[in-house]
């Protein structure tokens, strides 16, 4: 594929950003949920 | 703990010194940040957007429209005329057309990329004795996307010309 570096790079940046954002968010959630009771977790 | 109100000349211990300074900083911080953002925005708009508004002059506007004077460096937009493209080792020559007006363009080097005949380009440079001497060419792609058809592509020689001819 011509210009493969640019094309794969675009997909890598896109998917990589999404995955990193998701992982960081989940990690923060887990970290801060320890001291919070289930009654405060309105989604449960 | 004494929570009774105090006269203004007898401030609370906790509001003295560094804590009052911190409170003042907190109060002004949003204003400072918004001011910086505002200044940043004005710089972008005045320094970059102004020069960017109407990014180019069309070929038929050279020497006619304000800001398209032949004495200054210009960005000129037009279509590379079919059968006008000639490449040597160091130069690329072609005719650029817009609205039935044409100019000869000489570019130092090979534009590369998707540059080809019948494609719209923006050439950066100066008019020198009736020829536009360019040192930068940007291909201006249309908003049309068509599947590459090998047979049609080979028959025409230039994909953009085959697209222009339908």
């Amino acid at each position: 594929m011509k210009d493969a570096g640019f094309i794969f790079g675009s997909y890598l940046v896109t998917l990589g950003s999404m995955v990193v954002f998701a992982l960081v968010t989940l990690r923060r959630g887990r970290k801060s949920s320890g001291g919070v009771s289930d009654s405060d977790k309105t989604w449960l | 703990m004494d929570l009774s109100p105090r006269p203004p000349d007898q401030p609370d211990e906790t509001s003295r010194g560094s804590s009052s300074g911190a409170r003042a900083r907190r109060r002004w911080l949003p204003v400072i940040i918004l001011s910086l953002l505002g200044v940043g925005g004005i710089v972008i708009v005045t320094q970059f957007l102004t020069s960017a508004i109407d990014y180019y002059c069309n070929v038929d506007e050279i020497g006619v429209r304000e800001g398209c004077e032949t004495t200054s460096r210009l960005r000129v937009q037009g279509t590379v005329e079919q059968n006008s493209l000639k490449k040597t080792e160091t130069k690329t020559r072609f005719v650029m057309t817009f609205n039935d007006k044409s100019i000869d363009v000489v570019y130092s080097g090979d534009p590369g990329g998707v540059f080809q005949e019948c494609i719209a380009v923006v050439a950066h440079g100066r008019m020198v004795e009736g020829v536009f001497e360019s040192n930068r060419i940007e291909v201006k792609h249309s908003n049309e996307y068509v599947e590459k058809n090998t047979e049609r592509f080979e028959a025409s020689g230039s994909a953009a010309c085959s697209l222009a001819q339908g």
Binding site: D3, I7, Y11, F21, A22, L23 | F115, I137, E147, K148
Partner: protein, 249 residues
């Protein structure tokens, strides 16, 4: 990414897991369709494949910022000033900034292949950069010290002002002469000049990115709620400790 769906997260529910799974499936098609099955463009060749991630990321960034403004207005107008609106606004803006960054990077790579330049200060690129910087500022203001209500009020006003930039960005290619091509799908004439499989993959990209957006926003706003609860508890404890100190003196 499947780990994200199956693992037990503090902010996850059955609904978010289903949403996450759907997002993964659609994104899988976008990647395979975009890189393998879709044809080359007659002029741009292979580089057209960047469109399937660049265009949806720009649209979802717009969506994110519009939802931020809607949630901010709801907070300002609502009698209860529900902090849920504020958290949604903040979460949506964070995810929007991520999508806007993706738009700028992928657009820059695509620009290098078509225009021959990574960046030019043309109207579309300049206004997009300005929009990105504005929302970075919005996120910075959200992190300033103050009560939750102060945070909500400040950021809601900024969000309502910042959203006005979106029409400027979108129509910059119509209002001014730009190096950036005009809109292919959301153009004023409504005439879409895109081959069928290209259009389908682009549409899949929009669906996939939308699913990812809502998945991220749901988790992020729940995380924000947890942090708000922790901070409030911390404040309550500090006040109680101070009162206890006061009563012993």
């Amino acid at each position: 990414m499947s780990q994200l769906v199956t693992s037990t997260s503090a902010t996850g529910t059955r609904a978010t897991r289903v949403l996450g799974l759907l997002a993964i499936l659609v994104m899988l098609w976008v990647v395979i369709g975009g890189l393998v099955f879709t044809p080359q463009d007659v002029v741009q060749g292979e580089s057209v494949r960047i469109m399937y991630v660049h265009v949806p990321s720009a649209w979802i960034a717009y969506l994110a910022f519009i939802l931020t403004a809607v949630a901010s207005a709801s907070w300002l107008i609502g009698k209860k000033h529900s902090m849920g609106f504020d958290r949604f606004a903040g979460a949506s803006a964070e995810v929007g900034v991520m999508f806007m960054a993706i738009t700028l990077v992928t657009g820059s790579l695509w620009g290098r292949l078509t225009w021959g330049e990574f960046w030019q200060w043309d109207p579309r690129l300049t206004t997009t950069a300005f929009l990105f910087v504005t929302y970075l500022g919005y996120l910075a203001v959200r992190r300033l010290e103050g009560s939750a209500e102060q945070r909500a009020r400040r950021s809601a006003i900024i969000a309502l002002l910042a959203v006005l930039e979106i029409p400027l960005v979108h129509f910059s290619v119509v209002i001014w002469r730009s190096l950036h091509q005009g809109a292919t799908v959301l153009n004023p004439s409504g005439d879409v000049k895109l081959d069928d499989l290209m259009l389908f993959t682009l549409f899949s990209g929009v669906v996939g990115f939308t699913l990812v957006f809502f998945w991220l926003v749901l988790h992020r706003q729940r995380t924000m709620l947890l942090l708000d609860v922790v901070n409030r508890r911390g404040l309550d404890t500090a006040i109680a400790n101070r009162r206890a100190e006061g009563s012993t003196n």
